[in-house]
């Protein structure tokens, strides 16, 4: 009896490993193929044995991407847009999250409901009207006071960053986080004469490191991978982000698959790094948002 039970358990575990391995192959192989292909020459990628590893590692594609493709500029644009917009979003969202969790003011529930509602608005459908809004910003990009005559904030860094400056999701996460911290800490500080800002900055912010890390990672990732918005706002390669640069590189250098794979890897490199170092935090953030419903 005992024997057959343990055999059954061993069989079940074995079966689990088989199924899990098959699934893992589906998720892992595309990434491995991209890396291996990027280390071949363009010619051997297109005509050689696809399954064979390259005879010697060829890093030429990576330098070609920077020299031919202008990926240095794209990387700079992506970095500026992502870093600056993330800093602003984290500050704005944690402030608002604290306000919704710990301050009492009229209209709080309605405002918070509206924040949640913005989560349901489709950014891709809003890209066109946001484009028109940016086009007509007064006094920007040669515009008159009524917002016409020029290009407004199109083809500019502020224009590229606009949709990433705020996020209902970050506000939601921040509120949920601050609700978990005891209100008594703030009471004590208030009795000692702290105003609300000091309570937030000196008492709660130092306790909010996990939240700050999570919101930072999500905001950065979101700004980094966005495709549609920079595609319509940037008018030329000098303001292409890596995602847009990658797409135009692929269109220009069709069939140079080693170079294209190198470009695809470069375009995702920083978020791969975030992923490896920040996995713990990302997963916690996901669990916060969905797990508790």
């Amino acid at each position: 009896m005992i024997d057959s039970a343990s055999t059954r358990r061993r069989l079940r575990t074995g079966g689990r490993h088989v199924v899990a391995s098959v699934i893992a192959i589906f998720f892992l192989v595309p990434i491995l193929v991209a890396i291996v292909t990027s280390l071949k020459t363009n010619a051997s990628a297109l005509t050689g044995d696809v399954l064979a590893l390259p005879h010697h590692l060829h890093f030429g594609s990576y330098s070609a991407v920077f020299q031919l493709g202008g990926f240095g500029t794209f990387a700079k644009v992506s970095a500026i847009v992502s870093v600056v917009s993330t800093a602003i979003q984290v500050f704005v969202a944690t402030l608002a999250g604290y306000g919704f969790a710990r301050l009492r003011f009229r209209g709080r529930s309605v405002l918070f409901f509206l924040v949640l509602l913005t989560l349901m608005l489709p950014p891709a459908a809003l890209a066109l009207p946001l484009f028109l809004e940016m086009l007509h910003v007064p006094f920007a990009g040669g515009n008159s006071a009524t917002g016409s005559g020029g290009i407004g904030l199109l083809n500019s860094y502020p224009g590229l960053m606009a949709p990433y400056l705020v996020s209902g999701f970050s506000i939601f996460l921040s509120r949920q986080f601050f609700l978990t911290l005891p209100a008594e800490l703030g009471e004590a500080a208030r009795i000692d004469g702290c105003n609300e800002w000091m309570v937030f900055w000196r008492v709660y912010r130092p306790l909010a490191t996990p939240l700050l890390v999570i919101v930072t990672l999500f905001a950065f990732q979101n700004a980094w991978v966005d495709f549609l918005w920079p595609l319509i706002v940037a008018k030329g390669p000098s303001l292409f982000t890596l995602q847009v640069g990658l797409s135009s590189f692929q269109q220009e250098f069709t069939a140079q698959w080693a170079d294209i794979m190198a470009a695809a890897i470069i375009a995702s490199l920083p978020i791969m790094a975030i992923f490896i170092f920040g996995q713990r935090y990302l997963k916690r953030g996901i669990a916060w948002s969905g797990g508790r419903g």
Partner: protein, 323 residues
Amino acid sequence: MAVGKARGASAPDSPGQARSVPAVPRTARRHVLRRREDSRLTAFGFVGPAMVLLALVYVVPTIIDGIYSITKYQLGGRAGFVGGANYAAVVHDSLFWQSAVNTVLFAVLTVGLGTLFALGAALLLSGTFVGKGIYRFIIYLPQSISFASGAVIWTWLYNSQNGPIDAVLERIGINGPAWLTDPHLALISIVLMSWWRDIGFYMVVLIAAVEGVPYPLIEAARVDGASRLRVLWNVTLPSIRPAMLFVVLTWGLGALQMFTQSYIMTDGGPVNSTYTIVLKIYTDAFQALHLGYAASEAFILLAVCMVIGFFAVRWFSRGLENP
């Protein structure tokens, strides 16, 4: 909560009333009033910046879109009022309808089956299973690849000239299909890529929910002699319903906005079989330059998402009241 109390205490009074009540000492009265104003200003200081930015990035564009959708605005031209003419034209635009059908089909396939796969993976990789960490890591790994990179990588995988998938199939004697150039297959190929990119994320959501099911509940059912399947159906699934709804909703709204894959992998082809709503909006607005017309298409998508979202948010915000 000092601020809250101060406001609560002074809430029924208007300043005029306060002046007519002599029983309240002058200094205390001023104190109460000052606190109340402070609190409103403070609240605006904390919540205001986010509200202003949300208005600029979400509310204003929504209004702008509504306005432009009833004009015949073309980039650089003047916006003339045309009433509902754009919407009437959209109804007769066969490419719009095909895009709508493609988009819904894509969303149903991706999210419907994808949620089941994500749930399966979550159940498989939770509980006591040695090595679950490494499998989770691998399944979640494509989250670290941008949509554009992923789309480019899969374009190569699907490539008909020496592309890895067909090359492997050929090795075992199968003539690989034309993944991205067969009109019956292209959308499915993009669904496959989207699963690869996104299942990991939703798996993590569901793992958190599955592992959050109180163990005594499962234990009790097991002791009562319920089979594993029964426990799954009668205990686990009902407990993770909120998380399931979150997954279907978030993923579904995302899928209705699919653009990057179609733009990079197929450009809407072959014979428009992968044209999506957002790709249609994009080409009408930025290639044909019919911005008014595109705005009306965008407004339709906006309205659909808002209706879905409104009910979902109402459902979610139950139980989110401040304690």
